[in-house]
């Protein structure tokens, strides 16, 4: 990350006039219709809204899984609309961690191997990636289940593995699409605590899509979407990361 484009006064994510249209048959559907949004580094932002409001579309666009119809998405120093495929693949591999509602663990691989996968893709050496994966499993409280296959784990455990996996490549940005949707509220709360902890201690930025207002209540900001537009933004906590968690160079830049 270059310092000039992501100095602390610049937001990590800058979305401008973003639209995404689909053709369903001959009917044009506007999933996003002119969205402007800034997200600062280290913030926990919840995207809420009824189904079809465009919250998942926005998440996928920011994650580089989808391309905008028009408008701009700046994440750090990359504009996703004009980036080529190679840049997008690299962006997903190095800067993004995804967490899905249905976990999406690789069924034939053990918990630790699942956590290792992003590191395999990033060509980290075998010994180093095993060490880091075990460390991450430890941090989500699953060190004892490292050798288990996903079908031997409970839903909550699977999502914990998925959280560990999303953090493996030390991303800038965590994107979670209904991460508690398949879990009971108590297990879901455990996952939310893990995510909050990641935001606080690792200073990652978290974008979380949910329609559960209780879940959204844990965020720093809540962005309400409806019919592809931002309806309103609720500020629950003023500024995110307390200064002691700032890395040293950023600390200097903030002066």
């Amino acid at each position: 990350m270059t310092t000039n484009s992501t100095a602390d006064n610049e937001p990590l994510i800058r979305v401008r006039a973003l639209t995404r249209r689909y053709l369903v048959g001959k009917q044009e559907v506007r999933a996003l219709d002119g969205v402007d949004l800034d997200v600062e580094r280290g913030q926990f932002v919840a995207l809420v809204g009824p189904s079809g409001s465009g919250k998942s579309t926005l998440l996928n666009l920011i994650g580089g899984l989808d391309r905008p119809s028009s408008g701009e998405i700046h994440v750090a120093d990359l504009e996703l609309g004009t980036a080529n495929d190679k840049q997008l693949v690299r962006y997903r591999r190095e800067r993004i961690g995804f967490i899905f509602q249905s976990f999406n663990l690789l069924a034939t691989r053990s918990a630790v191997e699942n956590v290792e996968t992003p590191l395999v893709l990033a060509e980290v050496k075998a010994q180093e990636r095993r060490r880091r994966a075990l460390e991450l499993l430890q941090s989500v409280g699953l060190a004892a289940r490292a050798g288990h296959k996903p079908n031997e784990l409970s839903g909550g455990e699977m999502q914990r593995v998925a959280v560990a996996r999303s953090l493996a490549n030390q991303p800038l940005l965590l994107l979670a699409d209904e991460p508690t949707g398949n879990l009971d509220s108590q297990t879901g709360q455990g996952i939310l605590d893990l995510l909050r902890q990641a935001v606080l201690t690792r200073r990652v930025t978290l974008l979380l899509v949910t329609h559960d207002m209780e879940v959204a209540g844990c965020a720093d900001r809540i962005v309400h979407l409806r019919d592809g537009r931002i309806q309103r933004i609720e500020e629950l906590r003023p500024k995110a990361a307390p200064p002691e968690f700032l890395p040293k160079d950023d600390h200097d830049a903030a002066r």
Binding site: N60, G63, L65, D66, D85, K86, V89, R90, Y91, R92, R93, E94, I96, F98, F100, N104, L106, A107, T108, T117, P118, V120, L121, A122, E123, R165, N169
Partner: protein
């Protein structure tokens, strides 16, 4: 993603559907097995033929008169006016003086329908009259006869003959007494269709191990017989020799001779040239036999394509997840191509082994059959060379990778979002 990680991922992905993987590779197994068996048979036969030819001698060149219709046409007694260029004794003498020629032996063939008999110790029996160098006409698997007594190398000298073991059958001469026959006189009786008979008295100088009833007589004696048969004392002047065998100092000398004599408009043939033609024929046969295996491989290809499409369909979500985590198209493509390549390779390994085994079995059966029929067969008709093994394995893997090309491309092009939503 490193190549090593892709390879191990592809391998472990095959392991999750073991039965399907093995069933898919059966086509490759059958194809490679067929090819290995066929090619090893061609290899073996070719090696044997080559060995036989080399025993006869690659250093020999046979010259025939021009205008006879080429080699292998056989001699037609009603067509002897057809020679446009005859081999005269002067030609033979000239060739003999060339530096490449070690020895020039003229040959005369008796007409095919001339009845020849051997009269010896009061008994008569039909025999074939041959020259010393009738080696070309031997079967590919027969060994050259050896001397049981005296010599089997016929000198260019009148009045002598070499008997075969087969010609002595029924005369009650045990083998240890063969040497006692040397120096005795035997009679060759030539019978013309017009009813006349002419006999020639010749001295026995050797007994050969050939089982067929035959006698070897020098070219000059045969020329005399042929002159009598056609009632033409000037036969040598009008028709010349039927052939001349030139023995060169070495193979390269033989090659020089072939081109030199061909310029003189004679028909020339050498073992070396025959071997080259034989090699080409064997290559054609090998390719044709391999096509059978190729057909099996084509079917196997379709099987692999089908299996890969199925397994990619099953893993659509997984591919979406990998893409979300930053796997590139090239990563996905190569991973699935390697997976298909492994299916081919598994089939290749099993196919090579089974092909070798089948070759052993067929060889065993062939030897058993040949022994019952008293046919001379070499020990090993199926030769699997390391090169054949290596080529088969590489070929099998390539077949797999080729078959994986289309499915892997489909997987690589999957839209990550659509793949993640796939149920």
């Amino acid at each position: 993603m490193t190549l090593r990680d892709k390879t191990s991922t592809a391998w472990s992905n095959l392991g999750r559907r073991k039965v399907r993987t093995v069933l898919t590779s059966v086509g490759v197994i059958v194809g490679i097995m067929t090819i290995v068996t066929m090619v090893s048979l061609a290899n073996g036969v070719r090696l044997q033929v080559k060995k036989q030819f080399e025993e006869i001698g690659l250093d020999r060149v046979t010259v025939r008169p021009a205008g006879e219709g080429g080699f292998g046409g056989g001699f037609n007694p009603f067509d002897f006016g057809g020679r446009t260029k005859i081999i005269t004794p002067a030609d033979v003498q000239r060739w003999q003086s060339w530096p490449q020629v070690e020895q020039a032996s003229p040959e005369v063939d008796l007409p095919g329908d001339a009845a020849t008999g051997l009269r010896f110790k009061g008994k008569s029996r039909p025999v074939r009259v041959a020259g010393s160098t009738s080696a070309f006409r031997r079967g590919p698997f027969s060994q050259p006869p050896t001397a049981l007594a005296g010599t089997v190398e016929l000198p260019q000298q009148r009045g002598v003959l070499i008997l075969s073991r087969g010609a002595l059958k029924g005369l009650d001469v045990p083998q240890r007494q063969y040497s006692a026959l040397l120096g005795q006189t035997a009679e060759i009786v030539l019978a013309a269709p017009r009813g006349q008979k002419q006999s020639y008295r010749l001295k026995i100088i050797g007994i050969s191990s050939d089982g067929a009833p035959s006698v070897q007589i020098s070219a000059l004696d045969r020329l005399a017989m042929k002159s009598w048969w056609f009632n033409d004392p000037n036969l040598l002047k009008t028709d010349g020799y039927d052939s001349v065998v030139l023995r060169a100092a070495d193979v390269s000398g033989a090659r020089v001779l072939v081109s030199r004599i061909r310029k003189e408009k004679f028909e020339v043939q050498s073992i070396d040239a025959i071997l080259k033609v034989a090699d080409r024929i064997f290559s054609v046969i090998t390719i044709m036999l391999s096509m059978v295996g190729g057909l099996a491989l084509l079917v196997a290809c379709i099987g692999i394509v089908n299996t890969m499409i199925m397994s990619i369909y099953e893993r659509t979500r997984e591919i979406g997840t990998l893409k979300a985590m930053g796997a590139s198209r090239a990563d996905i493509r190569l991973m699935f191509m390697l997976e298909a390549g492994f299916i081919g390779l598994i089939g290749g390994v099993a196919g090579v082994f089974l092909g070798w085994l089948l070759g052993r079995g067929l060889n065993y059966a062939a030897l058993w059959f040949a022994e019952r029929r008293h046919l001379p067969l070499p020990d090993n008709l199926f030769v699997v060379t390391p090169a054949l093994v290596l080529q088969s394995l590489v070929f099998a893997a390539l077949i797999g990778i080729l078959a994986g090309l289309y499915p892997a491309n489909r997987a690589a092009r999957l839209d990550p979002l659509a793949a993640l939503r796939h149920e």
